[in-house]
Symmetry: C2
Subunit: 356 residues, 2 copies
DNA sequence: CTGAAAGCGCTAACAG
DNA sequence: CTGTTAGCGCTTTCAG
């Protein structure tokens, strides 16, 4: 129930000035062995610890890195944060975390809050990197920062998946399996430039391979009526044979919806996801998807910010084509075989299992 | 690239004292309308924001709540944090997050760090609530705090699953399906009192129902050789018909291992998990498990700490038997039918789907 | 209604 | 080698 001891208390108990205590404890400047002992004793007796607040005020910096992500319930961000966390901990930094819940408005206030708390740097995922007001504030202040899962505009560091290229790779996969007309499923399309970039890259990829322009199937906040939406969507676009979902959760959800509509995945409808979460390997059929490495990206973004702070060499993010991998899976069917077949033929071994 | 404006700058520009600026901006004490206007103008012009560090030093508190959890990659904690996050945000608090990576040693240093940063309160999951040194420090300081996923010793608030009762419920489920000899699978058994409590409750439950004492199958850090371990385990305990995994990830992993050993789940081996993560419903067969509500628990713990801080009424955690639910699933077989049967009979509708 | 000044815990000159 | 002191940004008496 007692208040924390301050440096003054220590000085008093050790019978010296506060400067001496500071010098001894920080190992800055010299002190007699005897003094050191007395200070150490006083510290032990009082269970003294520096107040980081006092320190921060004086040094006008904190050992805290701010993080702004849409949601921590999404394993992609959770894993990225875990990766960053490990890096920070090693360097003695802590993580101040704010979630925006995919609301662009709260982005700005989150950033303002972090700035007022004097974070030493910021790692952030924004809704629209091109015109994020928060991002310009950060840049104007010269605050060390790094984007995460945003393809960076000039003069911003970023650790991210090359969404366009990855989406084009999905188009390639569909094309190689002779799909011609496909759909693109997105949640909160307008609130995520990831989704928009994936759509854009996918359209380009489809065009390049002579496929039809993909139809957009957009759903809102909750998955509520996904099954109904899918039904409507397929009846409006009867020639669709596959759907590219902009993340694995959506992909799994759409698989379930397809089942409810008595559609066989992949025979009646092929699905490809994005992210590569582990679960995709546990479901049946396994999910064809783009595999990314959230933990590595989070760690990279963390290291980048730290390197800005410490003025050490800035780590290089992986080159664009190294940020993702296509993983084959049972949810993607090859349309070359006759439909009298069981429809489960895939051009890749669906038993492929990287975790083993 | 410019430094933040301070209250002094504002006072200077507004042509008044700093006290006036403080009074106007905080709406504490009176000020003439004209003064208010001048201050407002200066604030806008300078894009002024209070430094929380200065404020914290003076008020010796922060609008920050510290969180200590084992890992953020585990969706149980990620969801709990998401729940807490939403509560904090509403009240204008931020989350300072530290992960211990299941290392009891880093628990203490995490808590020390949070204290030195003057957090207003702490939500934490510790390795052993009965003898956590960090926890006693927190209590001695009278720091507002709440345990999460730890069954609380006296004089600590806690939002947690009643692990013992839930584990006993699992014993009941096995018993009702005529299983007699089962195993208990745990990861890092010695580092988690959750796992230990579940084991204890499970043993009690089994005994109460006349089942044999469950055998312990313990694995280390990585899942590496789970399949080998399982093989050995089953050959040493040939009469085992079911395994209770102390969390759903382990349950899914053990299902896969069983498959690799050419065992049919649930016919040759039934599995029950713990946590109730969504994925359990997406796999085939669906996972029988204990369903918990991580988000609710996290939000509750957050609300509890806030209520301590604000000296408002402390929210009551759900009563012990309300903290979990058993969910039937295809991974649990009824052993009453002849083995000539397909073995897929379950006493509960496995199509049960709470998300729908 | 307003401003000057003290002080929160700490570090860094600067004297001694 | 050591102590005194100013000052980081803010709030809060206390006078005026």
């Amino acid at each position: 129930m007692h208040q924390s001891a301050t440096i003054k208390d220590v000085a008093l108990k050790a019978g010296c000035g506060v400067a001496t205590v500071s010098r001894v404890l920080n190992n800055t400047g010299s002190a007699s062995p005897e003094m050191r002992i007395r200070v150490a004793a006083a510290v032990k007796e009082l269970d003294f610890q520096f107040s980081e607040v006092g320190r921060s005020l004086q040094s006008s910096t904190t050992r805290t890195i701010g993080f702004v992500v849409p949601s921590i319930a999404n394993p992609v961000y959770a894993d990225a944060l875990q990766g960053a966390q490990e890096i920070l901990t090693c360097s003695g930094y802590q993580m101040l975390l704010i979630c925006t819940n995919y609301s662009p408005e709260s982005e700005l206030s989150a950033i303002r809050t972090l700035i007022s708390k004097q974070v030493a740097g910021i790692v952030l995922t924004v809704s629209d990197a091109e015109r994020s007001e928060g991002l310009s504030i950060i840049r104007n202040r010269g605050l060390p920062h790094c984007l995460l899962y945003n393809n960076a505009p000039v003069s911003h560091e970023s650790w991210s998946v090359d969404d366009k290229a990855a989406a084009a790779r999905v188009a390639q996969a569909f094309s190689e399996n002779l799909h011609n007309q496909t759909g693109f499923l997105a949640l909160n399309f307008n609130k995520s430039d990831r989704a928009r970039q994936r759509y854009e890259g996918y359209c380009v990829g489809c065009k390049a391979r002579g496929m039809k322009k993909p139809q957009l199937l957009e759903i809102s906040e909750d998955f509520e009526d996904l099954t109904m939406k899918l039904k409507l969507f397929l009846s409006e676009n009867p020639s669709i044979t596959g759907i590219f979902a902009s993340n694995d959760f959506l992909a799994l959800a759409i698989v379930r919806s397809a089942r409810k509509l008595a559609l066989n995945v992949p025979r009646d409808l092929s699905i490809i996801g994005f992210d590569g979460i582990d679960v995709g390997l546990m479901v049946e059929p396994t999910l064809a998807t783009i595999v990314t490495e959230p933990k590595m990206l989070g760690a990279g973004a963390g290291r980048t910010v730290l390197s800005f702070i410490n003025k050490t060499e800035v780590p290089k993010p992986p080159s664009a084509d190294q940020t993702f991998n296509f993983r084959a899976g049972g949810s993607l069917a090859y349309l070359g075989a006759e439909s009298s077949d069981d429809g489960k033929i895939t051009p890749f071994p669906s038993s492929f299992d990287p975790t083993n």
